[in-house]
């Protein structure tokens, strides 16, 4: 029988983490994602699965606890919201540089600065383009439902361990806070220490047992030739991920005249706008990137040949629109629309923007 519950997006992430057999969560409270750690603390997962949950003294400490535990081959995660993620960026860069698998959840709020606690998608640049120092990439998953908040926990870990790379769920205050029906995954067993040694013993610091050489986790290389070689290795990995792991959803894309490109809660608002457009006789479709990195550039480029114009809808002053323009490469008009700073656009506003910026523009 299906295990169906009505849950907030933040709670769904937390419950899915317990069920995914996550070994540890390290976090620090920040609105609008504090329910993740609150739910975990109330659930006492150490009694259910042995999962560790710890409230750190700061986001800096939390991400470095993730670093330490992830370097041991454990399944480890953290969550935060935009200003907290800014603080985690140092650690994220180290985790990416040291090639450690982990899951990070960002429930985005409006900025810059302390900004607002209302929803936003203005963290696209800092998560998709890097954010921390150096040339690195995160695998970025963008859920648009509470169900995906739950599903992307296991998917995120699967990709993170497959490529030894941090994965990120880039959500927003809408998805984090709203309640929806969610089908919860079955409980997975946590890996035992012997199984971890078997799977990750070639790199994880678990104590150098049975005469093996010591394992070292580091992102430091003082010789530039070797640091360049490490970077080339990372780039080769990123290329492979770009080729194999693009995920997207197409809605109404059989033969549209116009195309929306939107992710997360903006994609859902665009779905309503498509219905409103239909009532006016306007044929519009939606391409929803599920992975923001790797970005579905090829599919967007292909659709650009079929439509008269593309409107990129995001709750920011225009961030993903840059990647869409690069993908379209001038083939067709691309415009941006979005409310930001904590404001959420309505379907009517989106349709109006399509009419004025693309159809009549």
């Amino acid at each position: 029988m299906e295990d169906v519950k009505l849950m907030k997006g933040n709670e769904a992430v937390a419950e899915a983490a317990i069920r995914a057999g996550v070994d540890a969560y390290f976090g620090y409270p920040i609105t609008p994602q504090s329910e993740v750690i609150e739910y975990l603390m109330a659930e006492e997962p150490h009694k259910r699965t042995g999962m560790v949950v710890l409230q750190a003294e700061s986001e800096l400490a939390a991400i470095n606890m993730v670093y330490g535990a992830a370097a041991c081959g454990k399944k480890v995660m953290t969550s935060s919201s935009s200003p907290g993620i800014s603080l985690k960026q140092e650690g994220i860069s180290y985790i990416a540089g040291s090639e450690l698998p982990c899951l990070i959840v960002d429930v985005v709020r409006g900025g810059p600065g302390l900004g607002t606690i209302q929803p936003s998608q203005a963290d696209y640049f800092q998560m998709v383009k890097g954010g921390g120092h150096g040339d690195y990439r995160l695998i970025v998953l963008a859920p648009s439902t509470v169900q995906e908040m739950a599903d992307f926990v296991e998917l995120g870990f699967e990709l993170a361990f497959k490529y030894r790379n941090p994965a990120l769920i880039l959500s927003d205050g809408v998805i984090g806070q709203m309640m929806e029906k969610v089908v919860l995954p079955p409980q997975k067993e946590r890996l035992g220490d012997e199984e971890i040694d078997k799977r990750y013993g070639s790199w994880a610091t678990t104590g150098k047992k049975n005469g093996r050489e010591r394992n070292i986790i580091t992102s430091l290389e003082l010789k530039p030739e070797r640091q360049e070689a490490h970077n080339l290795h990372l780039q080769a990995k990123y290329k492979e991920i770009s080729e194999k792991e693009v995920r997207l959803e197409k809605i109404n894309c059989e033969n549209p005249d116009y195309l929306f490109v939107a992710y997360g809660s903006s994609a859902r608002i665009c779905q309503k706008a498509i219905q409103l457009a239909e009532e006016k006789g306007i044929k519009a479709g939606l391409l929803r990137p599920i992975t923001l990195w790797p970005f579905p550039s090829k599919e967007i480029n292909k659709l650009a040949e079929q439509v008269k114009g593309i409107l990129v809808v995001e709750m920011s002053a225009g961030q993903m629109v840059e990647d869409v323009k690069l993908a379209v490469n001038g083939k067709v008009k691309v415009e941006h629309f979005g409310r930001f700073g904590g404001m959420v656009h309505s379907p009517d506003e989106v349709l109006e923007a399509l009419e004025t910026k693309i159809i009549g523009g």
């Binding site: 800096l60 400490a61 670093y67 535990a69 480890v76 650690g91 610091t205 104590g207 150098k208 010591r214």
Partner: protein, 257 residues
């Protein structure tokens, strides 16, 4: 009695083993300056781990500073960490592997400036880890800048006329602060610039690792050390200066436990 003392040549000839490098130090050439205390501190830490039979369960963390390359020399599983974050990294390791032995090896800039929050909170939570704190009153790796533990009047490249406490604040006795935290079980201050002190420091490190096996709380060993390069002194002068000035402000002995 004098005829009973062997010359080095006689020792080699007779093949008697009087000292053996611990197998937990690699054969890599130390990157530290001649005269620096790091080498001795590394060695006695690794000797303790070997003597206690902890080789297969130890994970060390070395953050930014001269000792960031400790993993080149310490022959156990090691993690390099960002500046100041080692106690958080060690917390992450120990929480998922409570049966492993976890230690950090941190300098004064790392532990008492940029990593103050991580250090105090890990100690306050009573994480069952051992912190080895090398205090030489200066930033060695970046070229001799003022540290939180630089003494009043002491010259560095960012206090070229001496540390002015009115402008730059006072040297931080962080070990005294840490001793006040209920999460710590053993807090001590040692030194390694004289043979007798090396033996005492090794005993202290051993006690710290033994207490960690009993899950009693955080164990913290400060080692007041030198930095002849950063202090712009010969090794001998640096050790004499340490003896006279550093130990005056940072007196040796157990603060707790």
């Amino acid at each position: 009695m004098a005829e009973n003392i062997l010359t080095p040549e006689e020792i080699i000839k007779r093949g008697e083993l009087v000292f053996k490098k611990t197998k937990l130090m690699t054969d890599n050439e130390l990157s530290y300056c001649p005269g620096c205390g790091h080498g001795v501190a590394h060695r006695i830490t690794m000797e303790v781990i070997e003597e206690l039979g902890l080789e297969e369960k130890t994970i060390g963390v070395a953050p930014v500073g001269c000792s960031v390359l400790a993993y080149e020399f310490m022959n156990v599983d090691m993690q390099e960490a960002a500046h100041g974050r080692a106690p958080a990294v060690a917390t992450g390791i120990k929480r998922v592997y409570p049966d492993k032995t976890v230690f950090t090896y941190q300098g004064d800039g790392d532990l008492a400036a940029i990593g103050t929050a991580e250090t105090l909170h890990a100690c306050n939570r009573g994480e069952n880890i051992t912190i080895i704190f090398i205090n030489n009153g200066i930033y060695g790796m970046t070229g001799g800048q003022m540290a939180p533990t630089t003494l009043p009047g002491m010259k560095s490249s960012t206090s070229p006329y001496g540390r002015d406490i009115n402008m730059m604040g006072h040297p931080l006795k962080i070990t005294e602060l840490i001793a006040m935290l209920p999460g710590t079980v053993y807090v001590t201050r040692q030194a390694v610039h004289k043979p007798g002190l090396v033996r005492k420091a090794k005993k202290a490190i051993k006690k710290a690792f033994e207490l960690q096996q009993e899950n009693k709380g955080t164990t913290f060993v400060e080692i007041v050390s030198n930095c002849n390069s950063g202090w712009k002194m010969t090794p001998v002068d640096a050790n004499n200066w340490l003896d006279k000035h550093m130990l005056d402000y940072y007196p040796l002995g157990d603060l707790k436990g």
